[in-house]
């Protein structure tokens, strides 16, 4: 596994992003002026207590939530100028997402779930590519199984295969081990980083686990909707963390 740092131009730029959501108790300021640049190929962990705005920030970066103010640019595409469908197409081409709750479609087999992004892009070889993707996460024996017939770890590996299948430039992972036990979690994280390294994908990873965060080149600490710390992980610590896991 490589630990070399990538130093390309910025893939992702956030400028003074604000997001307020309505609630029964009144408006809640989730993001309060987040500015951030992430270079192509960089691995970044997003840490912070519950309610600090990590998931919302990830939704914003994924084009699933629109900020009230500020700019979001991914690979030169300004989200403010894109409608919902254009954002969907952008995701299809450039962004993969892995959720804590997997979010597989329960009525589709593992193979069909993985093939979906390619099918939506009109790829005729979607199924064969998906089969290879499943094999790459060690699930070639589970292709015809439905999510309900898979364990949590297996479901998350299907989700990782699905997220990587279209060769995204950016991978967003929201606590991918949150629903898994420690051993399974380690396997899943290994799988994730292995794919990231193989494809040179930019990774933005939410985690509560410091050891997982240390595997990333950069750690951003979020509190009350603001970035309170943005630091590079020492290369020696990255190596140690990867060996430890």
């Amino acid at each position: 596994m490589t630990s070399s740092l990538h130093s390309g131009g910025p893939l992702m730029v956030l400028e003074d992003v604000h997001l307020t959501l309505g609630s029964a108790a009144g408006p809640v300021n989730i993001l309060r002026g987040v500015s951030l640049r992430i270079a192509t190929g960089e691995t970044v962990s997003l840490i912070g207590p519950s309610g600090s705005g990590k998931s919302t920030l990830m939704m914003v970066v994924g084009g699933l939530e629109r900020p009230n103010a500020g700019r979001v640019r991914i690979d030169g595409n300004d989200f403010g100028t894109l409608n919902e469908d254009a954002l969907a197409r952008l995701r299809r081409a450039h962004i993969g997402i892995v959720f804590q709750a997997f979010h597989l479609i329960p009525t589709m087999t593992a193979l069909e779930n993985v093939a979906l992004p390619l099918e939506l892009a009109g790829r005729r070889d979607a199924l064969s590519v998906a089969a290879r993707g499943l094999a790459a996460v060690g699930l070639d024996h589970r292709v015809t199984h439905y999510p309900g017939q898979l364990s949590g770890g297996e479901q998350q590996r299907v989700a990782i295969a699905r997220a990587f299948i279209a060769g995204p430039k950016l991978l967003l992972a929201d606590e991918p081990t949150g629903n898994l036990d420690a051993t399974t979690g380690r396997l899943v994280i290994d799988c994730l980083f292995e794919h990231q390294a193989r494809h040179g994908t930019t990774l933005l990873l939410i985690t509560h686990d410091p050891s997982v965060a240390e595997r990333c080149e950069r750690q951003i600490h979020l509190l009350d909707g603001r970035i309170i710390e943005d630091r590079r992980t020492a290369p020696s610590r990255i190596g140690a963390a990867r060996r430890a896991l």
Binding site: T107, L116, G148
Partner: protein, 841 residues
């Protein structure tokens, strides 16, 4: 469940119901709709029949009625009637009314009444006046009370006069209520009521004129009408009269109402059965949504039987609620509908609570619910405590416990027994049951075939099509339920539309080609030459004429008809007088079915040719004898042959045709059918009726329009009931789509996260629902066409024509309904914000 656990089950069910019935709204809606339809139709029929029974004496015009064709009663008969009680004498016939200037004329139903009329009820006139005053003679002019329809036809007003035969009648009042109107049968023209003296003054009563004399008797209190009728028959066995008591005031009408009610009830039952699918689906979805609760209960030690009992109690409680609401609504239907039928019904309906039809509807509701709900309820047995630890994909479609299966079969048999046992015509009900079972089996099979076919279709290149086809066969997809519910609704629609289309076509299209323009009745023998002269002088006109008499069939092989076994479909021929004729040659529009036609110059003992269908119903064959009472004289003839008669030709034909040599000397008139083009019609009718005021012209198109109006009303009632079935289908469809809504939104969100555009999702949904609608409609077209073919050719016995338009309409409607309902259900899925579904919190 042991006795100990019964209270426990009730307690748990009560607690469970605290959570509300959100998932079971479709259950309630389907049940309420179906039971309301059946209860409403039953209550309506009961209140209409009760009205007829309550006013039976008014409808008949007395406690008993003696009816005679052609001749009034003789002195001895009159003496017998007069000593029986109070008697009212009435004569009815068809005649022509002409304006005094002679420029307009129209067929009327003339009714001459005496001073005693009506014995029961009252005639209401407008402007308000006494009937006697309205009809009295004032300086050579008789008065008449009329159906206001005549005013418009002849361009007259109240106070103007018309000529009927040789008499001038002043139209003094409009009839607002004629208590015995229904006793006259089908009226082809407006009613004109006059005094007996006025009828005599018209000069229309001539030998052989088609006059019916009716004598109504009001018996002294305490007398039994039936025994009086027996005594009258015994006293004058050769009178040839027909006696009816108030208890059989309107058997044809009652029969028709009961038959119509049966058809409507069966359509209502279709709605309930379609709703049953919705009930089953709703229970299935409800149980599926309760997986966690059931698993928890089982984790805590509840047995499957206890859990089953809990949910069965819930279903029964909701069934009771649904049925109660439906019975209330059903009981109110007559209140709403009877005012709309005021002009149609012979007697006002008796509004009230009729427990019979309500109980029947409740039983139908309960049995249907259980038949459809037990199976999905058995799903509680398939939920294991382990479900708490692992998702299940599709809990349905596994083995059903034998006890549930047996109970469902028994309940279904109970439903069949109830449907057949409660029907007025069991054969029709049995056909319905067979049809319903066939339709359910076929649509189930079609649904399974579509699911299987969609699975085998492979993966089309177009992603939206691939997604749509995949959605049809995914585990838990409602494809089969939607096809079943929508399909049956559409099948009923196709069948009704095709039957309606064939009937309309039969009445409309066949007429111009084959039907005569007019029938002229009451042509005296000495007027025949003059009549022929007028017709021949009309360019393009041709006519057929035959002598016509009327008589009543009294004996079959010497056995009085009252004692002979007669099939129901042949009884109409014995209820009143039949027109009859004599002929040397086989009439046009007939084919010999058995026996041989007599030689043209036959002279010998009486021979008769009889309708083959009626002969079958009366158990008669060639060589048997048939007795007919003609003007008090009984003629017994040997059946020489049987004819298959094509009544659709609308030419002249009679069920009874005698050989020459028997009837020539009897008083008779001639009946003529005239074929001609419409422009010459008016002039011909004027010429004939001007020269022969006693001759009446029946305009075939107008007469058929009268029949058409009645058929139209029946048709409307059936169409309305069809809509109820379709509404049930839509409810089920809506329910199935709503049940899958959450999953669909979730799928849409995940698909959007993976890059699907709203356009792509819309196209996929449209293709999926369009395919479902089109496939359901296609099967419905096949099945509906088969049902319609059976009804048209076997029951109505008219020519079958395949009509494409109703089928195209149905396919279009099917696609539209699924698209609209499906899309309404998924529209929110397209606009759903992804974030709330994807958050971990």
């Amino acid at each position: 469940m042991s006795a100990l656990s019964a209270p426990q089950a009730f307690r748990l069910a009560r607690r469970e119901l605290r959570g509300g019935i959100r998932g079971l709204r479709v259950f309630l809606a389907c049940l309420v709709l179906g039971v309301t339809a059946i209860a409403g139709i039953g209550s309506l029929a009961a209140s209409v029949l009760a009205g007829i029974k309550a006013d039976a004496r008014e409808l008949l015009g007395g406690d008993a009625e003696v009816r005679l064709a052609y001749r009034p009663i003789d002195a001895a008969e009159r003496a017998f009637l007069m000593q029986s009680g109070r008697v009212s004498e009435i004569a009815t016939m068809r005649a022509m009314a002409r304006t005094l200037g002679g420029d307009r004329r129209g067929l009327i139903e003339l009714k001459a009444v005496d001073a005693a009329y009506p014995l029961y009820g009252t005639v209401v006139l407008s402007p308000v006046q006494d009937l006697a005053a309205a009809l009295e003679r004032r300086s050579d002019v008789f008065g008449a009370a009329i159906d206001p329809a005549i005013l418009g036809r002849l361009g007259l007003r109240i106070g103007d006069s018309v000529k009927v035969g040789a008499a001038v009648l002043q139209l003094r009042a409009a009839i607002e209520r004629e208590p015995d109107a229904a006793a006259g049968g089908l009226g082809l023209g407006p009613r004109v009521m006059v005094s007996a003296a006025a009828l005599a003054a018209t000069g229309l009563i001539q030998p052989g004129s088609l006059v019916t004399y009716r004598y109504r008797v009001r018996l002294p209190p305490g007398s039994e009408a039936a025994s009086w009728a027996e005594a009258a028959r015994a006293a004058f066995p050769q009178a040839g009269w027909q006696i009816r008591t108030f208890r059989e005031a309107s058997p044809t009408l009652q029969n028709s109402i009961e038959r119509l009610a049966l058809f409507l009830s069966l359509v209502g039952l279709s709605a309930l059965l379609v709703g049953g699918v919705g009930i089953g689906n709703a229970v299935g979805f409800y149980i599926a949504g309760k997986t966690a609760t059931i698993a928890t209960l089982k984790c805590l030690g509840a047995s499957t039987r206890l859990v089953f009992a809990v949910y069965l109690i819930e279903v029964l409680a909701l069934t009771a609620l649904g049925i109660a609401v439906a019975l209330m609504l059903g009981a109110l239907i007559p209140v709403v509908v009877t005012p709309l039928l005021a002009g149609v019904l012979p007697a006002p309906a008796r509004l009230g609570l009729y427990p019979g039809p309500l109980a029947l509807a409740a039983l139908f509701g309960l049995l249907t619910t259980l038949v459809f709900a037990l199976w999905p309820l058995a799903g509680v047995g398939r939920v294991s405590a382990g479900a708490l630890f692992r998702d299940t994909i599709d809990p349905t479609g596994r083995r059903v416990p034998p006890a549930t299966l047996a109970a469902t079969v028994l309940l279904a048999l109970g439903l069949v027994a109830l449907a057949v046992g409660s029907a007025q015509d069991r054969t029709i009900a049995l056909w319905f049951v067979a049809g319903a079972i066939g339709a359910f089996a076929l649509f189930r099979a079609a649904g399974a075939a579509v699911v299987l076919g969609a699975g085998k279709l492979g993966r089309p290149r177009y992603p939206e099509l691939r997604l749509a086809i995949a959605n049809l066969h995914r585990p838990g997809a409602p494809t089969a339920q939607i096809m079943l519910s929508l399909g049956i609704g559409l099948t009923v629609l196709v069948a009704v539309a095709l039957v309606d289309g064939n009937l309309t076509r039969e009445l409309d299209n066949r007429l111009p080609a084959e039907a005569p323009a007019f029938f002229f009745i009451d042509i005296q023998p000495d007027q025949l030459a003059g009549f022929a002269e007028i017709v021949r002088a009309t360019p393009g006109a041709r006519f057929e004429q035959v002598p016509m008499l009327r008589g009543r069939i009294t004996r079959l092989n010497g056995v009085p008809v009252e004692k002979a076994p007669i099939a129901p479909e042949a009884q109409w021929a014995l209820r009143s007088d039949r027109g009859l004729t004599y002929a040397a040659t086989l009439p046009a529009g007939s084919q010999l079915a058995a026996g041989a036609w007599w030689p043209p110059d036959y002279h010998g003992p009486p021979l008769v040719s009889f309708d083959a269908d009626l002969a079958r119903g009366m158990g008669l064959k060639v060589g048997d004898t048939l007795s007919v009472n003609l003007l008090g004289r009984e003629i017994t003839a040997v059946i020489a042959n049987l004819r298959s008669i094509d009544w659709r030709r609308l030419g002249i034909n009679f069920t009874l045709v005698f050989a020459p040599g028997t009837l020539e000397s009897a008083p008779q008139t001639h009946l003529a059918a005239v074929w001609m083009s419409p422009p010459a019609e008016e002039a011909l009718v004027r010429a004939v009726t001007e020269r022969f005021p006693n001759v009446s012209a029946i305009h075939v198109r107008e007469a058929l329009a009268t029949i058409d109006r009645i058929l139209g009303m029946i048709d409307d009632a059936i169409q309305l009931s069809t809509l109820v079935t379709l509404a049930a289908g839509m409810l089920v469809l809506g329910g199935a789509i709503a049940a899958g809504h959450h999953r669909r939104v979730y799928d849409a969100v995940v698909l959007k996260v993976l890059g699907a555009t709203r356009g792509a999702l819309t196209r996929a949904f449209l293709i999926e629902h369009g395919l479902l609608g089109a496939l359901s409609a296609l099967v419905a077209c096949i099945l509906g066409t088969l049902a319609a073919y059976f009804l048209v050719t076997r029951l109505m016995k008219i020519e079958w024509v395949f009509l494409l338009a109703p089928l195209l309409w149905t396919v279009g409607l099917g696609i539209l309904l699924t698209l609209v309902l499906g899309f309404a259900g998924t529209w929110r899925a397209l606009g759903a914000k992804a974030a709330p579904y994807l958050r971990n919190e």
